[in-house]
Symmetry: C2
């Protein structure tokens, strides 16, 4: 399951807090039952456009990842929580809204990865699994 959240009107102080981003990336894999492969990588970026600065971070978890890109001057943040295990995307959405102070979000949910979590069905199950491809929705307001 892959949850994508774009947050608007976010708390600027939180979006520029490298430690907040690092702590979330460090602790959230455990919260959804996943295993980190490496410690989170977090960087503060300054680009040619002043307003584009922000904190970018990434943690690889077992065959999936969590990523965060913040734009403090825009109150904007991109968050991806992608796990090859199923997890409660409603709970995760609430968690990121609280963590980063997000009054307004765009949300996408993609059913990916989990269909391959049962090895015995990996090859024989493809046709059956593919019948569910079009069931995913477009973006929704959360």
């Amino acid at each position: 399951m892959h949850l994508v959240v774009d947050g608007y009107g976010a708390d600027t102080a939180k979006l520029q807090d490298e430690e907040l981003v690092r702590t979330f990336l460090d602790e959230y894999p455990d919260a959804i039952g996943m295993t980190k492969m490496i410690a989170p990588q977090v960087y503060t970026y300054h680009g040619p456009v002043d307003e584009d600065w922000g904190v970018s971070g990434f943690v690889l978890i077992a065959e999936s990842h969590i990523s965060i890109h913040t734009f403090p001057d825009r109150g904007y943040v991109n968050i991806d929580i992608f796990s090859c295990k199923d997890f409660n995307t409603n709970d995760a959405l609430e968690d990121v809204k609280t963590t980063f102070g997000l009054p307004e979000v765009k949300v996408w949910r993609m059913d990916r990865g989990t269909e391959y979590s049962t090895p015995s069905e990996a090859h024989t199950g493809m046709v059956r699994e593919r019948s569910s491809i079009v069931s995913g929705g477009g973006p929704t307001d959360g």
Copy 2:
């Protein structure tokens, strides 16, 4: 723009090739006009389930990223190309199909990030931009 590709029936030799993954992550940001923040991070993962092993890699580019997770024993791969600049997702899809030998794919395209690439519209443009939220499609076969 965020292009998500899940590939099936992929070339096993390519999926276990850590250098292929690293080279793609190293070179593709340039191909879509983006700037790497750091060198790609690439790891081969072995989990508790034998078939779950694979290569995971990501590269942070300016406020966005590219990530790849491969499952060689399953012929399965997850690819994300997320750029805060617009790029041709059809071309990128063909590039990843060729690079990893993907006869069958699931594809999602999410219009995110780019709406904030013009600083002067960052705040005043939100309502206008939000009117386009629901125009994104669900997954499609590519």
